[in-house]
């Protein structure tokens, strides 16, 4: 299919690029999200590469490699950090570990002291460990990945629901519109977080059910907006023209009205993304989010604020959260400015 952006969109993208703060945030943010997809390579207890007795192994992805393969005396999964020490006085065999050689679940305990352990380069715990000895950096990175994909999926689903119901309300009007107006009025007055807490205290949610629960109470904002916009667009001449030419309802909605509203929908995306991350983190913080031991920012935040003397836990999660959320806010501001330019007169 031949695909070309129309000049107006090109101009908007040009304007977005010219807002440097937002544009660089966008590039950096995309990069971080892409990197997080390959977190297994950066943060893992499995080695990237093992060269043993002339054969090469890449244990990162794929099945568990038992210790026997590398000449160890056990048949459960190889402990690569031990193996590294084992190989040290051996010139023929070698092993390459990821930069952070821990996964998000294992407890790295010491015999001499109790966790949490402060940051230490010697132990490769660059941000220390949490209260049960799990690596903070590993949990932070995997927690980010959980949060961002949670938020992205939530965004797609809630936009699908919001756009379709909103467009239908605006386009068809009548009884359908009236019915959903009442539902939205009730829904928008429900104390959002409180009810989600109640629901997820009843059924311990997993990744998908938590999305469903938040979706259940989070679809209205865009719906209301779409309704208004569709309502306005419907009254314009081009819709009438399309109808006069015999276009079906679905053709009018999907080929004529939606493309004219899409630029406004885009300006909402960064803000929904941020609120998805915040919603998950808040729920995890309160203990109503994803079940333990899923790595999550909210869980780290609650651990950190309960153990203020272990400053590294709370400060690392707060710093990463601030950086990510401010970046998303910059992107949102830039997109809004690019898509909806308001020229102001200023007086000297």
């Amino acid at each position: 299919m031949h695909f070309q952006l129309n000049p107006l969109t090109q101009k908007k993208i040009q304007r977005f690029k010219s807002i440097r703060r937002g544009y660089y945030s966008f590039i950096l943010f995309t990069l971080i999200v892409l990197l997080s997809c390959f977190a297994e390579i950066l943060v893992n207890s499995r080695a990237l590469l093992v060269h043993y007795e002339g054969s090469w192994h890449f244990p990162t992805y794929g099945a568990v490699i038992p210790g026997k393969v590398f000449g160890l005396d056990y048949s459960y999964e190889t402990n690569y950090r031990e193996l590294e020490k084992h190989f040290n006085n051996d010139s023929k065999n070698f092993i390459i570990m990821p930069p952070i050689p821990f996964n998000a679940y294992e407890n790295d305990l010491k015999t001499s002291a109790f966790p949490p352990f402060p940051p230490s380069f010697k132990d490769s715990h660059y941000l220390g460990t949490d209260t049960i000895g799990r690596d903070v950096a590993a949990r932070l990175i995997y927690g980010f990945r959980t949060a961002i994909f949670f938020s992205l999926i939530l965004l797609v689903v809630s936009y699908l629901v919001g756009v379709s119901i909103g467009a239908a309300m605006g386009y068809f009007g009548g009884l359908f519109d009236l019915l959903f107006q009442r539902i939205i009025e009730i829904w928008s007055n429900i104390p959002f977080l409180y009810v989600i807490m109640i629901v997820s205290s009843i059924m311990i949610p997993n990744f998908l059910t938590l999305i469903a629960i938040i979706l259940l109470f989070g679809w209205i904002q865009l719906t209301w907006y779409m309704r208004t916009v569709t309502y306005k667009e419907k009254a314009r001449e081009y819709v009438m023209a399309a109808k006069a030419l015999g276009a079906s309802h679905s053709r009018v909605i999907f080929y004529h009205i939606l493309p004219n509203t899409i630029s406004i929908i885009i300006t909402f995306i960064p803000f929904s993304l941020a609120s998805g991350i915040i919603a998950l983190t808040s729920l995890d913080f309160l203990g109503f989010g994803l079940p333990a031991p899923t790595p999550s920012w909210g869980e780290l935040l609650s651990q950190g604020s309960n153990n203020l003397e272990s400053l590294w836990i709370v400060s690392s999660v707060i710093v990463s959260m601030t950086v990510i959320l401010v970046m998303v806010a910059f992107i949102g501001e830039a997109i809004r400015e690019a898509f909806d330019p308001k020229q102001h007169t200023t007086y000297e």
């Binding site: 104390p191 009843i202 309160l286 102001h344 007086y347």
Partner: protein, 342 residues
């Protein structure tokens, strides 16, 4: 206009019923509800003292079928959902929210105890927010694109991006844990009753309130400042301000007497929304600073499955929010005579 508001007030009733019936039904389909909690508790109690818990008729070692049935009648679990909802609702209308299953105290009394604490924070936050946002937004609009505008934008942006409770944790880490300037939490000190003068008591309350208030304000001032700035800039660009300046009115007066007054309209619209934000956002901040307010009560009652209180808190916050919405519409009508509600 009066007609419109009467209609709005009447519409509260179906909305209120919609909200409460939803949550009521949810709480009914719950494993680990109050009865199961009580069975577990009675088992524990029998190992220790064998004492009765409350008027529900628990005394013996563990609960037999007869007692469970009595409990079900007591909580209305023996009837269909809608019937017991109707019973609950008709009690609520008489200001009877039932009895807490944990504290065996009337829910209404518990809420009455906590409500002033949340209200204190809510109202103070609102005052401070207006006090900061209106002048700040004003200066940012007047000095648009200046150094001051850019620097203050960063502060506003960070305040906008980070949720209020995270700001609360940051403040706690810096000012309470490390510098030890302010207490870690609570509404007042333990020796509050011994403080001699009301003045000392007030000082004590505000001393405890500094950090939570900063967190609350951080959560709400950013949006308000942006709103003020944008509204004022829109008005400054409007024809009538240009006319005023063309007529020779000094710029300052044109802003103060013409543009500023019109810019306050969106701020007034936001007034009612604030009520709900304060109620909704307060779980997190109240939990972090361990303030015995409505939010913490709601949170604890969910954790402990104390459904009479869960529903009670919901009733109060839903009513506050519904009235808040109407209140903000009234505010808009008062400040802007052009607005016609029909």
């Amino acid at each position: 206009m009066t007609q419109y508001f009467i209609r709005r007030l009447l519409l509260i009733i179906p909305t209120f019923i919609g909200i409460t019936i939803l949550v009521f039904v949810i709480t009914r389909f719950v494993p680990g509800g109050p009865i199961e909690q009580m069975i577990a508790e009675a088992q524990q109690a029998s190992q220790q003292t064998g004492g009765g818990l409350n008027g529900a008729g628990i005394g013996a070692s563990t609960l037999d079928a007869e007692q469970i049935r009595e409990l079900e009648i007591y909580y209305g679990f023996d009837k269909p959902v809608l019937v017991s909802y109707w019973q609950w609702l008709s009690k609520v209308v008489q200001f009877d929210l039932g009895v807490s299953s944990r504290y065996s105290e009337p829910v209404w009394d518990t809420i009455k105890e906590r409500l002033p604490i949340s209200a204190f924070y809510g109202i103070t936050t609102m005052l401070i927010t207006y006090f900061i946002s209106i002048p700040l937004g004003y200066w940012k609009a007047i000095k648009h694109n200046s150094h001051f505008d850019h620097v203050s934008s960063i502060v506003v942006f960070v305040g906008y991006a980070i949720p209020a409770y995270v700001v609360g944790i940051i403040l706690l880490v810096i000012f309470a844990s490390n510098l030890e300037w302010f207490p870690m939490g609570g509404f007042y000190s333990e020796d509050f009753e011994d403080l001699e003068t009301p003045w000392e008591q007030a000082v004590d309350v505000f001393y405890h309130a500094v950090l939570p208030l900063m967190a609350y304000v951080a959560g709400s001032f950013a949006v308000m400042t942006f709103m003020m700035k944008n509204a004022l800039m829109d008005n400054l660009a409007a024809e009538y301000v240009r006319t005023a300046i063309a007529k020779g009115i000094p710029f300052n007066q044109a802003v103060k007497h013409h543009a500023l007054r019109n810019s306050l309209i969106p701020i007034a619209t936001h007034f009612g929304n604030n009520i709900s934000v304060i109620i909704g956002g307060s779980f997190l901040i109240e939990k972090i600073f361990n303030i015995d307010g409505l939010g913490l009560l709601g949170y604890e009652s969910i954790v402990e499955r104390d459904y009479p209180i869960v529903l009670g808190v919901l009733v109060i916050s839903a009513i506050l929010q519904l009235f808040g919405n109407i209140l903000s519409d009234i505010c808009v009508a008062v400040v802007d005579p052009r607005v016609q509600f029909r």
